[in-house]
Symmetry: none
């Protein structure tokens, strides 16, 4: 095994550069939006040459995915003792994310690009979608452990349940905040949670 790929010849890549580039990307995104973001501008903000940027990311899209992905790392499933509390918490977290200009500017644009580019779609899925979906999975398991939800009848059905719940939550929040352009107020979150909770528990 050629285990440690750390020891390479020549000058090693600067880890500072990576951080600076991602931070610059987020800043530019928040400031100028997706359309106004240019590679040259990001490079300048990061105090880095364009070459350095392209050495690490093949294109603007991949760069933005990575830059925004870290924002989704803070999503977490805290078992709050009831399904309603858990759902509300998840919705609130996701809404909080979409309230940030960076993710606001990036998310829909990224989805739009991804709908044409399979490689990007994969990357988006791994970095952005899956972490969110995992939350739904965990919440469901916790509710089952608590006895609020029935146990899985089959893995396929479980998977479908999770998918439909996930698409509904993510879609509704995104649509409200990014398309309708209205905030996800606590009242709205509460009403939406009720909407979601009723069929699950009845």
């Amino acid at each position: 095994m050629t285990e440690p790929p750390t020891a390479r010849k020549g000058r090693p890549r600067s880890a500072d550069a990576d951080r600076a580039i991602l931070a610059a990307t987020r800043a530019a995104l928040a400031e100028l939006g997706w359309g106004g973001l240019t590679m040259g501008d990001v490079a300048t903000r990061a105090g880095v040459a364009k070459t350095t940027l392209y050495r690490r990311w093949p294109s603007k899209n991949e760069l933005v995915v990575d830059a925004v992905a870290v924002l989704f790392d803070e999503l977490a499933m805290a078992d709050l003792g009831s399904l309603r509390a858990d759902i509300e918490a998840v919705v609130r977290q996701f809404a909080g994310l979409l309230a940030q200009p960076e993710s606001q500017a990036a998310l829909l644009a990224l989805f739009a690009e991804a709908s044409r580019d399979p490689a990007l779609r994969l990357r988006v899925r791994e970095s952005i979608i899956d972490p969110q979906k995992e939350l739904v999975r965990l919440g469901r398991a916790a509710a089952q452990a608590r006895g609020e939800l029935a146990a899985d009848t089959s893995p396929e059905a479980a998977c479908e349940d999770i998918d439909i719940i996930f698409d509904t939550i993510a879609g509704a929040v995104e649509h409200r905040m990014l398309v309708s352009g209205e905030p996800a107020s606590p009242a709205w979150i509460s009403r939406f949670t009720t909407l979601l909770l009723t069929p699950l528990t009845s």
Copy 2:
């Protein structure tokens, strides 16, 4: 009465050109996607000079809104006799729309741009969002007439109800089809309708 401004000076704008441009835009959109769509290309396809195009639409965004808007005109609320049937019909129609490459390519990109440009947002809302929301409103009214739903307690609450239902339907379908990239099969539509129907009728 404000005199109809039909009698204007100079050569009138060609209505043929308008139609050709919008058709060319839809074709290019379906073929090349949002990112690949070029004003010059649209002009060429439409057999029109770029100038003519810019005389009518200030930018790519507005053009695409108008080009795609007609697709949403076919949405209709047919009173099918039951709330479930009506919801399923609406979801199916919307899913059918999003299955077309033109709208697929345009919708997310348009939403993304609109989140930065208030004028565009207004245009999107009028041409695309409102016609959809109207369907929800009509379906609700029909269900109330049938006695399936309780009458409005207050106009504000009614409005909020419609908003939340609308965001949920639109968001979920969009997210499933455009982000998750999976089709809205009859089975999925049925399950989603159930999810939606339960809290409404319980």
Copy 3:
């Protein structure tokens, strides 16, 4: 003889328009130079539609020829009693013409265009060159009548003489004023006349 083509059917062309257009052309020429002159601008200045302009002149070039030609109509050969005085007068008149911004801006550009366009060249020759050359011819005849110059030995030789004198006078004045960019002061005119007179009278 179908002499008077003046009587035509339909609305006659406005003579005012012609005058306004030519004046506007000269004004635009003096203000913006050849490169800055546009048909649309001339039309606007003249308070006339572009169509009206193109109905009369096929292109910018022909228009400018006509607009500038009238300036050359004021050239005249006044028999002042001596060859020197006559030459000086001609040079002075031509220099005066080239001191006007209109002709300054138009002349070289017109010559440049004409070197590629035979039709334009003909028009330039008739409207601009020939009137000038006529002066040389008249001056020569006057000097011969006075006995200052020998009579023609042959028509061909006379013609060659006139050509060479004309090219020398016109070329030198143009080059001094338009290329070297220095004024044709009385002193310069006097020196140049001497230069020209010596070989003619010796």
Copy 4:
């Protein structure tokens, strides 16, 4: 000593590109004339991006000056032993230059533009006018050395003499070839030289 700015950062500009662009400009000029010359076309012919072209020359005018200037470098003053021979040689060289399509197409147009643009005028003067005028200066000095011409009485007078001779030679040849459109035949050159020589030597 100002440090030679040879050691610069970044990729150096390609000297090949410069040569290719200037050659392409001359070719396009000879083929299409001044009016038909397009920046895009020049770039294509040179196998170069438009950007590269604009990086070096701010506009068509400056580019053409540089492209044509090299043609004037071949002008030389060969001391042929007599003033007449020297003048004839100079006139012949200049006529030869104006017989080339490139310079024919460029010269008058350039002069026309320069009459409105001081910066361009300076550039024209340095690249095109001065090399020619130098020939007159040298010829005069040689003739003085030979004793054919009297020595300078004063620097100013010498300068004025040179100017007037230069404007006359250049103007006459240009006017004959480019405006009258007739060739500078050996006979014409001989006659013109006589015209010029008489006042100088009498």
